[in-house]
Structures are given as C-alpha cells and as structure tokens.
C-alpha cells in the first residue's frame, strides 16, 4: 500500500467516494462468486431444480454490472488522483522552481509518468481489497460445508503469501524493475540514434550497428538469467494453487466413494476451493504490474515533500544555461568562514554611482521618463550559494547601480552574471548580505509588485505554446497596437508578419518553430511590451543574432534603456558599447578588469 497515495485519495472527497464505490463493487462481486458456486453446485448435483438457473443468471448479471461499476469508478479514482497530483506538482514548480537538469523528466512525470499510476489504482487496489475479504469468506463457507477440505485450504492458502511475499515479491519487484531498466537499453539505443548525425560524419554509423546487436544480446542474456529465477516464484504460486486443488479433489472423491459426503457438498468444494487462491494470485500479478506506478508516486511525493525553499520564486535556469536549484539560506553558516575584510571592489563604483545619481535623476525628470522613478539598486556584500556547490555563485559582491544607469556585466561563462540578474529578480536570495532597492531590503518587498517594475529577457527565453501576440504580451493584457510596436522595436515585426497567421500564429512544438535569433527577438519584444518597466534586466539579448539584426537590436535597446536603469549581461562588443559602465564578474566576484578600469579612467578624463 502506498501511504501517501491513499492519504491523498482519502483527503479528496470526490476521489474518496469513487474509490469506496470501486472497492465495494469489487468485494461484493467477489462475494457473489460464492452464491454463484452455491447455485451451480446445487443444480449440477440435482439438489436444486433447473429453475435455480434463473437466480444463477441473475447473480451473473449483477456481477457483470458490478464489474462495470468497478471499472468506471476505478477510472474516476485514477483520473481524480492524477488531477490532484498534477495540480499540486504544477503549483509546486511555480512556487519553488524545479531543479533544472531534470526539468525534462519533470515534464514527463507530470504527463505520461503519472499515467503509470493507473495499474496501481485501477488494478492493484481493488485486487488487494478482494484479497482481504473473499478468501476468508470462502474459507468460512468451506468450514460450514466440509471441515476436512476447509482445513486443507486453510493450511495451503498461506503458502501463497508466504512464498509469494517472502520469497517472490520482494526479489521479483527488484528484478522486474531491473528488467525494465534493461529493456530500456533504449537508453543506449536512443543515445546512438540521437548521435547518428555525428557518427555519420565520422564514418562510425555502420560500426555502431554491430555494437547495438552486441549490447542487446548481452542484455538479453543477463535479463534471462534474472528472469529464470524471478519466474520460479510464479511457478511456486501456480503449483501451490493447482496442487492444492488436487489435494482437495482427490480425498473428496474418495470420501464420496465411501458415501461419507454428498455430491452437492463435493461440487461446492470443488468450485469454491480455487476461488480462495485466485484473489491472492491476482493481487500478486497486479502488484507487479503496478510497480512502475508506485515508483512514479514516490517521485511525485518526493517532489511535493516540504523542502526548504529559500525563495518563493521560480529560479529556473541560471548561469549560462546550467540550471541551478534554489540556494539554501543555511549556507550562511558555511559562508561565515570566509573573510570579507579589505576587499571592497564596489567602493569606487558606489562613488561613481552617487555622482551620476543627481545628473540622471534630473535627466529623467526633464525627459518625462517612465511614471515611476527608476530605483537605485544596491548590493551589499552579497553571497549566493547553491546547494551542493562548494564555490559560491556570487562571493561578497558589492555594487551600486544608480537610477538610469546602464551597466554591462561581462566575464567568462559561469562566472555569476546570470546569478546576479536572478538575484535582482528574486529568483535566488542572498545567503549573506542584502539587496537594497531605494534603500529598502528586497527581501521585504512584495516580489510580484517588484517584478512589475522589471522587464527581463533571460538567456534562453522560453516561448510558450500560444500565439505570437500572447507570447509578446505575456502576463498582461497588452493592446494589439502595443504588441506590434514592441515587435517592431525588437526587430521582430518583419518575420512575425511573414508567418502564416501573423501575430496569431501559434508557436511551439506543434506550432511554428522559430530560429534561435527569432526567438530571441520575440523575447526582447516582451521587454518592449512593458513600457512602464523601470529596470531592464537583459541576459545576452543579442546572442544568436546575426550582425545586422544585432545592430538593430542594440539600437532598439539603447532607445528602450532611455530613462530606465539597465543591467545587461553582454558578450558582444556592440552591446557592451551601449553601457555607461562595464562590470567584470569572474568566479563570483567583481574583477577590477582591464575594460572597467579603462572606462573608469576615461570617464574620469571626460569629467
């Protein structure tokens, strides 16, 4: 029994009702077999008149109806449980954000993965309920009819659970799982098929064909070795059941011969004895079929288990496509050992920012800029740690971004640039230090409110399986005019209008696929579609664009950044050129690098 799954079924009234109906139907139908045996034995022995066949048909009719009822309510139970689990899992992804590398698996789990619960809910649970009730009822009836036969069944019946559960079930569950894993030498096969273009390029494609054969043969040999043992347990079960029948039938025949037993009773015993074993064997079979479902349930409940989410946000993909789980606030203790004295790279920047502050603020006012004033963003000794990583993603970073300032973040991949953006978005929280927005700690702000003031273009933006217009106007009711204007600014209007249904074209796997550069521009249009945003956070907005589009996007970004604060992760010179200040980040720290120095010096000269 799966405790969590049953708990869930019990907690949901609708599911509980369907499950109860399903189990009750299964049990009653099982008990009706007794009545059926009674009537049939009576008719065959001549104790009942032929007319007793009518109630027999009625019993069968009810059993059929109950069978249908059981199936229908089992289906309702299964869909009910899956819906509840899906809803919880989907909400969970949104609340805490999944661990990225397995995101593909998560999608599979919520979709097809949970379907593996069907055999458990519709097969195993009713079988278990029947197995708990029917054998006892059969035994009671047998004791009333013929104690000798009942005793034989009573003593052989436990052989099934004993052999089954102790010898078979545990080992078989393991071997079946192993067998499934082996039969998914799909793993190897899929790998080879996916890599076929690469193999072809180096003339290794044909060679792999023989490797596939050898791997398959080796796995088959290994699998058959385990199966030979695993199937032994089912041999024992089968033998226990059929030999018990022989054990009952032969003495009964001999006692009939001596006249110490009535034919009526003998036939009843013959009909009922197998029914004592059947439910237990059925339960065993259904259990094996549901092993995968139990594994899926375990996985789902493990994901739902209250972890220690440090942030209430989706963290999704951080640092250069490598996804990173939410950091734990507990990292503070570990970080305490790191000295943080004497190194304040933010010091000078802070001075610069303060100087720029007044001038920018004036400019914003005269330009009439965005409604809300662009805020000052201040990082004070911020350290961000991801669980399971020794090195901090950001290590004692201090930085001040003045209102309206345009900052380019540069530095090698994985250095912490994306983490810095995610920090400002509230996707990750500092393990140490704090982030101040106009002097207020970001941790105390309403994140949804704060994010309404931001426009964000992630490094690998996700396009949703919706229309282009909905993708651009994500999260708000943007007017068609605004969407078009945003697309035009992001250099996306041209290709969008060339799509079969223009802005109404549905994107995604089952819709139109856009090229990487086009996707980037749709995501950029999202940012343009938020005219009220005060802070732009752009993670390599021109990655994967060719030169002409890049230049256009850089120009558009320059216009968008006017009067707003912009923090842009950039690799390409054109984008970097747009910035007032270049901040180099490496190994989680701000590096007083060449360019930053040079630019600071130049700025000093100009002023």
């Amino acid at each position: 029994m799966h405790k969590d799954l049953l708990g869930l079924a019990r907690a949901e009234p609708a599911v509980r009702r369907h499950l109860a109906v399903c189990l009750a139907a299964a049990i009653v139908a099982g008990l009706l077999v007794l009545a059926q045996a009674e009537l049939l034995a009576g008719v065959l022995s001549g104790r009942f008149a032929v007319a007793a066949l009518l109630p027999l048909v009625l019993v069968v009719l009810v059993r059929g109806a109950l069978g249908r009822l059981q199936g229908v309510s089992a289906g309702r139970t299964a869909t009910g449980v899956k819906s509840v689990l899906r809803a919880r899992l989907m909400r969970r992804f949104q609340e805490s954000g999944p661990a990225g590398p397995r995101s593909g698996e998560l999608v599979t789990l919520v979709g097809r993965g949970l379907d593996a619960l069907d055999p458990y809910l519709t097969g195993y649970l009713p079988a278990a309920a029947v197995a708990a009730v029917v054998p006892i009822a059969v035994l009671v009836r047998l004791f009333v009819a013929d104690v000798a036969s009942a005793l034989i069944v009573l003593f052989t019946l436990p052989l099934i659970p004993v052999f089954g559960a102790l010898v078979g079930w545990t080992t078989k569950a393991v071997t079946e799982r192993q067998w499934r894993a082996l039969s998914r030498l799909g793993g190897h096969f899929l790998d080879v098929v996916r890599g076929l273009p690469t193999l072809r390029a180096f003339g290794r494609a044909r060679y792999q064909s023989s490797v596939i054969r050898e791997v398959a043969a080796a796995h088959r040999a290994a699998t058959m070795r385990t199966l030979r043992v695993a199937f032994l347990s089912s041999l024992v079960l089968e033998l226990a059941a059929s030999l018990s029948l022989a054990l009952v039938a032969v003495p009964v025949g001999l006692r009939l011969l001596s006249g110490s037993l009535h034919l009526d009773t003998a036939l009843l015993v013959l009909l009922l004895a197998p029914e004592a074993y059947l439910p237990l064997r059925a339960m065993g079979t259904k259990f094996h079929a549901s092993v995968e479902g139990v594994a899926a349930a375990d996985e789902a409940f493990a994901l739902l288990a209250p972890a220690s989410p440090a942030s209430s946000a989706a963290d999704a993909r951080a640092g250069d496509g490598r996804a990173e789980p939410s950091p734990v606030t507990a990292g503070t203790a570990a970080a305490a050992g790191i000295p943080r004295t004497g190194r304040l790279p933010g010091g000078r920047a802070r001075g610069d920012g303060a100087r720029a502050d007044g001038a920018r603020a004036d400019a914003a006012r005269t330009d009439g800029g965005p409604a809300g004033r662009a805020p000052e963003i201040r990082l004070e000794h911020v350290t961000v740690r991801y669980p399971g990583r020794e090195q901090a993603a950001l290590d004692d970073v201090s930085l001040v971004v003045a209102p309206g300032e345009r900052v380019a973040l540069v530095g090698e991949s994985g250095g912490g640039k994306s983490t810095l953006l995610h920090l400002l978005l509230g996707f990750v929280t500092p393990s140490e230090g704090r982030v101040l927005v106009d002097g207020v700690d970001l941790a105390t702000l309403d994140l949804d409110e704060w994010r309404r003031r931001l426009a964000f273009v992630p490094q690998r933006p996700h396009l949703f399986a919706m229309s282009v217009a909905d993708n651009i106007g994500l999260g708000g009711a943007a007017s068609p005019g605004l969407v078009r204007a945003a697309a035009a600014s992001a250099q996306a209007a041209g290709f969008v209008e060339a799509l079969p249904e223009g802005y109404d074209t549905v994107l995604g796997e089952r819709g139109v696929n856009l090229s990487a550069g086009q996707r980037q521009r749709v995501a950029l249009a999202r940012a343009f579609c938020r005219p009220s945003a005060e802070v732009l956070l752009l993670d390599e907005p021109t990655a994967r664009l060719d030169g002409r589009s890049e230049a256009a996007v850089v120009e558009a970004t320059r216009a968008l950044a006017e009067g707003r604060t912009a923090i842009v992760v950039a690799h390409r010179p054109a984008m970097i050129g747009l910035a007032d200040r270049v901040v180099r980040i490496g190994a989680g720290r701000i590096v007083p690098g060449r360019r930053a120095d040079a630019l600071a010096a130049e700025r000093g000269d100009v002023r």
């Binding site: 139908a29 065959l44 289906g75 869909t79 899906r86 039969s183 390029a201 003339g203 398959a216 699998t223």
Partner: protein, 595 residues
C-alpha cells in the same frame, strides 16, 4: 525544417488504415526468421499447454467427483486421480516454460526491431533532423514488439487452442451444448476484444492530442518558469495547465467506461454460457457426470479468453506504434548510394561546386546555383545571414542533402558516383548540432579516431583549447545525459577536437565559435586559423574576425553567392560583408567615443 514534415507524416499514421497495417505486419514478418519462428511456436505451445492443463484439471476433477458419487470401484477412478495430479503439476511447469520462452523471444524480437530500424536510419533520410522527443517516442515504439508477442499474440493463441479443446470435449458429450459454448467463447474472445481494440483506436485519436496539449502546458510551466515569474503570468499558466488536465481526464474516463463495459460483458457472457449449457444438458437428459464435466469445462475455458478484451485494447496501441516504425523504415532515402561506387578519392582533393541547387522538401531552394572551388591547401570561408544556405552547402558536400541540379566534383569525378561513406571520409569535420554520447570523454573523442594514440588525442584536445577542461573534468569521466553536463562552449570545442583528430583531407567547420563567449571565440578562431594553415578548409561562420587570413571569402545570401573575394576586397565594396564588418567594429569605436 525537415523535422516538421517528418512529424506530420509520423503522426498521421496513428489512425491509418489497411496499408499501415499491412506494412507493420510485413515488418513483424521480416523479424520472425526461422529461428525466431521456432522459438515463438515453442512459447505458444507451452502457454497453450498450461491453459489446457487448467481446463483438463477441472474437467477431470469434476468427472472424478461426480463419478465417485455413483460409488463405482476404486479402480474406475484411478485414471482420473492420476489425471488430476498430473494436470495440477504440469500446469505450473508449462506456465514457467511459456514465460521464459515468451520473454526470450520478445527480447530477441525487440533487439531485431531496433537493429533494423537503426540500419534504415543510417542513410541520411528525412528523419535526420527529428526532434529529440520524437526520437525518444520512436525508441519507445520499438518496445511495442514485446507487447505484441507477450501480451497479445501468445495469449491469443493459447486462448484459441483452449477454446477449441473445450468445444471439442463438449462436442463429444453434447453437440448442441458445444455449439452454445463456441458461440459464447466467440463473443468473449473475438467480439469483445475487437470492440475494445476499435474503441481504443477511436479514443486514442482523441486522447493523444489532449495528452500533447497537457504536455505542452506543463513544459511551458517548467521550462518557462523564469519568464512566467518575471512577467507575473504564473496564475494564468497554472489555470491553463489544469484546464488541459481536466479535458484529458474527461476523455480518459470515457475510455475507462468502454473498457469497464467490456469487462462486465465478459463476466456476463461466461455466466450465461455456463447456465445455458447446463440448461441444455438437463433438458436433453444428459447424465449427471457428463453434465458436470460439460458445465465446469465451459466455466474454466473462459479463463484464458476473458483477458483478451484487455489485450485488444493494448493491441490498438501496439499496432499504431508498429505502424509508425514501418512508416519510418519505408520513408525514402534522401541521398541514394551509387550502384557501382567509384574508388575512394585520393588526397590531395580538388573540390568543385558548379551551379549547385539544393532543395529541402517542397520549399524554395536552400541553394539556388552556387559555385565554389576548394583547391588543395587553400582555405575558404562562407559567411552570410542565418538561413542563407551555409549549412545546406556543407550538407551537400557531406552527402546528407541531395543535389537537385548542378554538380559537385571531387578530383573531377561526380560526387554522386562515390559511396557516401567515402565522401564523408574525405570531407568532414565540425558539423551542426554535435552530439555528446553517454560515454567517457576519451571515448567521445575517440569515435573520430579509433586508432589514434593517446598523444594524438592530447594534441587534438590542446588545439581545440579543451585541455584545461579535460584535465579538470578527467578523461574517463562519463559525459552525456546521465553523466556530466557539457556546456555549449565545451561541446563546440569537443566537436572541434574530434574534427582535428579525424584529420580529413578537406576539413569542414560549421560555426566553430558558436556559443562561445567573445574572448574564447576570438582565441579559438585564432588557434583554428593557425591549426588549419596550409590545409584545405571550408569554414562557415557568422563572425568576421580573423578572416583576413583566409584565401577566399564567399558571401551567401538567400541561397546565392552575392560577393566573393578576400577580406580586403570585400570591406572596400558595399554589401553585406562591409555592413557586418562595420557593425562588428562599431562597438569598439563607439565604446571609445562614449567613454
């Protein structure tokens, strides 16, 4: 792309009619060579024997008991007693034999399916750019062969033989009753499974899109988590996901109603048949012993037959999976092998491309008349906007895309008269979308040079600027999906190391600096140009830095060569190249001026 075309034909097969059915039947037929057929017969016989033993056990026990009630001599019963014990023992043994032989043959059939499928994929077909999830569905589909044999075919054969045996026993006792039994078995064993199979086909045609819709919504929620959070669109996305789930659940409930009805009907047919057989026996005055044997044989003969309704449902899924595979195997090869291939070209190679036209599917030509010459020892760069046909040109040279008109000659011989493997042995390198296998770093590299010495591996890695990473990660660390993840930049450098290790006479490089950060890209490009000095190279790139060093630059736009010449010539003429060069250099100058 070709992927959309392939997926369209792939999904259309779900509901295909007889042609698809015939095709997959032929596919299964080819799998079952003489060795397999013998094993399958053994498994079917063992399974049938187990079920027959079950029927015989009950029939002989019924005979034993009713006959004993007539109180004959003990000797009259001895055969039945032996029979009961023998059938009880043999039932389990036969079942064990069936399960072993059945699984063995199923595993063999699956392995054969995969091997055949793989071999049909080796020549570049329209599937070469299939999406990752379509590929994994294809691999899942190969498991359908197992289900076809173990869950559909073998139980059906056993049920058939058992049913026939029961009807024959009945015919000896009372032909009319046997007729009724045959009718009942036909309803439960043919009509009901056919019904569930048809229902499953019909419902899965409705369920599949609902399932795909749910998967898309969930993928949006998971992969787009950051976007949704940043734009405050979480709640809407959640509501969409739950609505998709509700639609799917409603359909699944519909399907489960059909299956539950089939289940209930099965029980009903079994009971009604037994009652009818008993009634007829009583009415015709058949003796008590014969009546009991008849009734109980009828009752038990349904046991292997009733599960066929479930098998029918599964069969519908198996048939469509195998239909999809058959369709893939029947899909035309894009590049045909020559009947009598010319001997492989010998280095040094002169490659001449003349008026080359290449088309993907029915769309406008990806290359519309391209001329290009690769002279031994010279390096040529191809630049142009994305979608201009740069990668298609490489595909044509590597014979993974076919030539519509014009030609490519290697040392004066038409490329189409060489075996495609020989062409790729001569011209290859860093291709688009390089793949990391689930294998050690060393093996991932070595696939491009199975006989290479360790020194050569190290040298290739060093020249691809991957040495520091390799030392840090370890040469025997397993990479790939279940192993250590490889970033885009590292992947690109691994692919470059492979290309350098393979060392083909003509080196093709497709966007080697793609996905690298600016500085690494510059460094890599510099190294690359050093490493390729004096060797025949075709470099496809969108970055112009360093191209002063190549001998010729070809600008490709919309499938045509719009400019060609050296870097110096191209920057002095108006056009795509100069625009791009200016926008690349603009940054530096604008940085200087803003500063």
């Amino acid at each position: 792309m070709t992927a959309t075309g392939a997926s369209a034909t792939g999904t259309s097969s779900t509901g295909t009619s007889s042609t698809g059915g015939v095709r997959w039947a032929r596919l299964v037929g080819t799998l079952l060579g003489p060795g397999m057929a013998r094993r399958l017969v053994v498994a079917a016989l063992a399974g049938s024997a187990a079920d027959l033993a079950g029927v015989a056990l009950i029939a002989s026990a019924a005979w034993l008991i009713t006959r004993a009630a007539e109180q004959p001599s003990l000797a009259a019963l001895s055969v039945a007693i032996v029979g009961v014990r023998a059938f009880a023992t043999s039932k389990g043994v036969f079942r064990y034999a069936e399960r072993l032989t059945g699984h063995d043959v199923a595993l063999r059939a699956q392995a054969a399916t995969r091997e055949r499928l793989y071999e049909s994929l080796i020549p570049a077909g329209p599937l070469q750019r299939r999406g990752a999830d379509l590929l994994s569905r294809m691999v899942d589909d190969t498991e359908a062969v197992q289900d076809l044999l173990v869950r559909c075919l073998l139980p059906a054969v056993a049920a058939l033989l058992t049913g026939v045996a029961a009807v024959v026993i009945g015919a000896f006792l009372l032909p009319v009753a046997a007729l009724v039994l045959a009718l009942g078995l036909l309803v439960a064993g043919v009509l009901l499974p056919a019904g569930t199979a048809a229902a499953a086909r019909r419902w899965s045609a409705r369920i599949a899109p609902a399932r795909a819709e749910l998967a898309a919504r969930v993928a949006d929620l998971v992969h787009g988590a950051a976007d949704l959070a940043a734009y405050g669109a979480k709640e809407q996305a959640l509501a969409d996901g739950m609505a998709a789930d509700a639609r799917l659940a409603a359909l699944e409930r519909g399907q489960s109603r059909i299956n539950a009805t089939a289940l209930g009907l099965g029980v009903l047919v079994q009971g009604a048949t037994v009652a009818a057989v008993t009634l007829i026996a009583q009415a015709t005055g058949l003796g008590q012993v014969a009546t009991a044997v008849l009734a109980l044989t009828a009752l038990v003969s349904f046991e292997p037959v009733l599960p066929l309704a479930g098998a029918g449902e599964r069969f519908a899924g198996v048939a469509s999976a195998l239909g999809r595979l058959a369709e893939i195997q029947a899909s035309p090869v894009m590049v045909a092998e020559p009947e009598r291939p010319a001997p492989p070209p010998e280095a040094p190679l002169l490659v001449e491309v003349r008026d080359l036209v290449v088309r993907h599917g029915d769309r406008d030509p990806a290359l519309a008349g391209v001329d290009l010459t690769l002279t031994p020892g010279r390096r040529v760069a191809v630049v142009g906007p994305s979608g201009a046909g740069k990668s298609t040109l490489l595909s044509a040279l590597m014979r993974t895309a076919d030539i519509e008109s014009g030609d490519i000659r290697i040392n004066g011989v038409d490329i189409r008269s060489y075996a495609t493997d020989d062409v790729r042995a001569a011209m290859t390198g860093l291709t688009q979308d390089p793949y990391v296998f689930q294998a050690s770093f060393r093996d991932n590299l070595r696939l491009a040079g199975p006989e290479a010495s360790d020194g050569e591996l190290v040298e290739a890695v060093r020249r691809a600027r991957l040495d520091a990473w390799a030392d840090r990660t370890g040469w025997d660390t397993v990479l790939g999906e279940d192993g250590r993840t490889v970033s885009g930049g590292q992947l690109q450098r691994l692919a470059l190391a492979r290309a350098l290790l393979y060392d083909p006479p003509v080196l093709l490089l497709d966007e080697p600096a793609e996905a690298l950060d600016e500085e690494t890209a510059d460094a890599l490009t510099a190294d690359l140009l050093d490493a390729t000095r004096g060797r025949t190279t075709l470099l496809v790139t969108h970055r112009l830095r360093g191209l002063e060093q190549v001998d010729e630059i070809v600008v490709l736009e919309e499938g045509r060569v719009t400019q060609r010449g050296t870097h110096a010539e191209l920057v002095s003429a108006p056009g795509y190249y100069r625009d791009l060069w200016e926008s690349e250099t603009l940054a530096a100058s604008s940085r200087a001026s803003t500063g």
